[in-house]
């Protein structure tokens, strides 16, 4: 196994996530897609900690750290979403455009 396989997989995941985050109408799916991108990054971190120029355990620890943050982020995101849903009775992205200039 070379590093390339991991990187390709991570890139694919990231692209999928990005696509989803930019196009999906449902906010829940957007959030899931963001998780997908984060996981792609985590995959890269782990891969580099094993196959990188200076292999070290730091990368794996950092990815754990990042998973924790991602979980927290998802929790906060969903909480906001629920609050929004209570107010607007919708989770569609295009209805949330009050920041328009």
């Amino acid at each position: 196994m070379t590093v390339h396989a991991f990187l390709l997989l991570a890139a694919a995941l990231f692209a999928l996530g990005l696509f989803g985050a930019l196009t999906k109408r449902n906010t829940v799916i957007v959030l899931i897609c963001i998780e997908l991108m984060l996981n792609a990054v985590n995959l890269n971190l782990v891969a580099f900690s094993k196959f990188g120029v200076n292999p070290a355990i730091t990368g794996q620890i950092f990815s754990l750290f990042s998973i924790t943050v991602a979980a927290a982020e998802a929790a906060v995101g969903l909480a906001i979403l629920i609050a929004l849903y209570r107010n607007k009775a919708t989770v569609q992205v295009e209805d949330m455009n009050e920041m328009k200039g």
């Binding site: 990005l18 985050a21 930019l22 196009t23 957007v30 992205v93 295009e94 949330m96 455009n97 009050e98 920041m99 328009k100 200039g101």
Partner: protein, 625 residues
């Protein structure tokens, strides 16, 4: 004694400041006193300077006024025979006019302002005369223009007075621009504006002849504007809208003579160029006869005198252009006295008759004997009656022209002399003698003017008779010798009184008087014969050959057109282009604001696209920083 010269202008300046501050009605009696006192002091100073010049010779002192790099422009004073003489003329006439105004302007609501303006004008005129360099001369040249402007427009509630003031300012300004250009060209040729330096450069041949001609002509344009020479003459008759004492002071004796004074002061410069001299002479001769023709048919007493002034100024220019330096200055001197006298006498008539139209006067001799006599003296002097001052100076002018062998101009001068006698006596007969009697009711109200007005006229009358004897073939050319003694660049032509010339001019004068007598007193000749035979010509002459109409239709019209076209360009072309640019900007921003739709996803997509673009650029450049 001549060192006090610089103080002289400040006396009238004091009048200006004092009268301006205390112009309330309760101070009026003081205003006239202050004015008379300060000009009196100026007169004493001027006479002192004149005597000082005769005893101790010329003097000059300057202080630095403005420096540009290493060049220093200075202001100061110079005393030489010419300007010592001018100094006395200006302060004397001004002094007399101040006294006269006390009577003439009595009861005027804005008397304080009037005296303030008079003081300001006198200040500027005296400082002009004392100028040792062109820059100072130019500055005060403009300031006397301002004084004239303010005084012409003194009765500003009259639309004619306003228009006349504006016209005077603008037309003289056209001339001033010529003077300004000439002055600047002189500066770059000579490196200094001091008269002495200019003369040295001219006589040393430092300026090439073409340049001398150009400069002289440009400066002459300035003189043309100020002295009301053709084609910039038409402001002067209109300037008669001002109070009559002002016409006597500014538009007869002093300011309008400033153009002649300028040419006389820069005489060495003009003399160095034959072309310039010829132009001066031709302009002068043409103006003289041109204005004399118009004067014949005018119906307003002051306008007759105004055209007569233009004509006499032309005479002076003719003299100067014919190398008759002394003749020009001599005529300037005598003219200042008799023309001021005539204007003051005319003022006295207007004061009494409450009209300026000749047709509404007549037979005034019986009611105003004093004024009548004084007017007659002035008329005789200007007509060139032997033994009066005008006779000697006019003869001197014609002599100079004859010697220069300008025979055509000489003839024009002779005809002008005849016309002058004719139109002046026409005026005299119509105003004082004519049998046509004013209705009794109005006549009863006509009284001789108060003594405060008569007295200044008497002084002027004495001078109008006697001023001629300072330079005659009979008693000796004192004036000429004195003028030449103070100016190394002037060569004095020996004075040869040509007997035949005297005879001819005397004859012409009598002829003119006789014809006027026949036409207007005895009415043996039909005065309307010519005007009825050639109505078109009459109309043209009456309107000053339509010069004004011409200017109105060309210059003024063109300026207005330019302004309107400019506004059009402004509104449609420049604004149009700018609106177009604005619209494009707005279009672009509208497109851009479409992206700003509040959708996080759109923003994210833009960030993504931006990142990719940046990465691509970086990859293609091979570096990221």
């Amino acid at each position: 004694m001549t060192q006090i010269a610089w103080i002289i202008p400040f006396f009238p300046l004091m009048t200006f400041l004092l009268c301006f501050i205390f112009q309330k009605r309760e101070w009026h009696h003081l205003c006239s006193r202050v004015g008379i006192m300060t000009t009196g002091l100026a007169l004493i100073g001027s006479i002192t300077v004149l005597i000082g010049q005769m005893i101790f010779g010329n003097s000059e002192a300057v202080i630095s006024w403005l420096s540009i790099g290493d060049t220093v422009f200075s202001i100061g004073y110079i005393v030489n025979p010419l300007n010592a003489l001018m100094l006395v003329i200006v302060s004397l006439v001004s002094f007399l006019v101040h006294i006269y105004s006390k009577g003439y302007m009595a009861g005027e609501e804005r008397l304080g302002t009037f005296y303030a303006y008079l003081g300001f004008f006198t200040f500027a005129m005296l400082a002009l005369v004392l100028s040792p360099n062109l820059l100072q001369l130019y500055m005060f040249w403009e300031l006397v223009g301002l004084g004239s402007f303010l005084l012409i427009g003194f009765y500003f509630h009259k639309a004619e007075a306003r228009a006349a003031a504006k016209k005077a300012f603008l037309m003289t300004r056209v001339g001033d621009v010529g003077l300004l250009i000439g002055m600047i060209l002189v500066f770059w040729q000579v490196g200094s504006l001091e008269f002495s330096a200019i003369f040295q450069a001219v006589s040393g041949g430092d300026m090439d002849s073409g340049m001398v001609t150009l400069v002289a002509l440009l400066i002459f344009i300035g003189a043309v504007g100020k002295s009301g020479q053709f084609p910039l003459h038409s402001w002067l008759p209109d300037a008669m809208e001002g109070p009559t004492p002002v016409s006597a002071l500014i538009h007869a004796a002093t300011m309008v003579a400033a153009g002649v004074y300028l040419v006389a002061t820069l005489f060495p410069l003009f003399e160095a160029s034959d072309t310039a001299m010829l132009v001066v002479a031709i302009t002068g001769a043409f103006t003289a006869i041109f204005a004399a023709c118009i004067a014949i048919v005018q119906t307003d007493i002051k306008r007759v005198l105004a055209y007569s002034t233009v004509s006499q100024l032309g005479y002076m220019m003719l003299a100067l252009g014919s190398a008759g330096y002394v003749a020009g200055v001599f005529h300037l001197t005598t003219h200042a006295f008799f023309k001021a006298l005539l204007f003051l006498a005319a003022g006295s008539v207007i004061h009494a008759a409450h009209t300026q139209l000749i047709g509404e006067m007549g037979g005034l001799w019986k009611r105003m004997k004093g004024t009548g006599w004084l007017f007659l003296i002035g008329t005789l002097a200007i007509a060139g009656m032997p033994l009066f001052s005008g006779f000697f100076s006019k003869e001197e002018v014609l002599l100079a022209v004859w010697k220069e062998e300008h025979y055509v101009l000489f003839t024009l001068g002779l005809i002008t002399a005849f016309l002058t006698a004719f139109y002046m006596f026409r005026l005299f007969f119509l105003v004082f003698m004519s049998k046509k009697i004013i209705p009794y009711k109005r006549r009863k109200k006509i009284f001789e003017s108060p003594r405060v007005m008569i007295l200044p006229m008497v002084v002027l009358a004495l001078l109008a008779v006697g001023a001629g004897y300072i330079h005659t073939g009979w008693f000796g050319p004192f004036l000429g010798e004195w003028l030449a003694s103070g100016n190394e660049y002037i060569t004095l032509h020996p004075h040869e009184g040509a007997g035949w010339l005297m005879a001819v001019t005397t004859l012409l004068t009598f002829l003119g008087i006789w014809m006027a007598y026949l036409m207007y007193q005895k009415e043996k000749l039909d005065r309307n014969y010519l005007s009825e035979a050639f109505p078109g010509v009459y109309e043209a002459v009456l309107n000053g050959f339509f010069v004004d109409v011409l200017y109105q239709r060309t210059v003024v019209f063109a300026t207005k057109c330019l302004g309107i076209v400019g506004t059009w360009v402004e509104r449609y072309v420049i604004q149009g282009i700018l609106h177009f640019i604005e619209d494009i900007t707005i279009l672009v921003t509208k497109l851009a604001s479409k992206l700003q739709n509040g959708q996080v996803q759109t923003y994210g997509a833009m960030v993504g696209v931006g990142l990719v673009v940046l990465l691509l650029i970086g990859l293609m450049q091979g570096r990221f920083f």
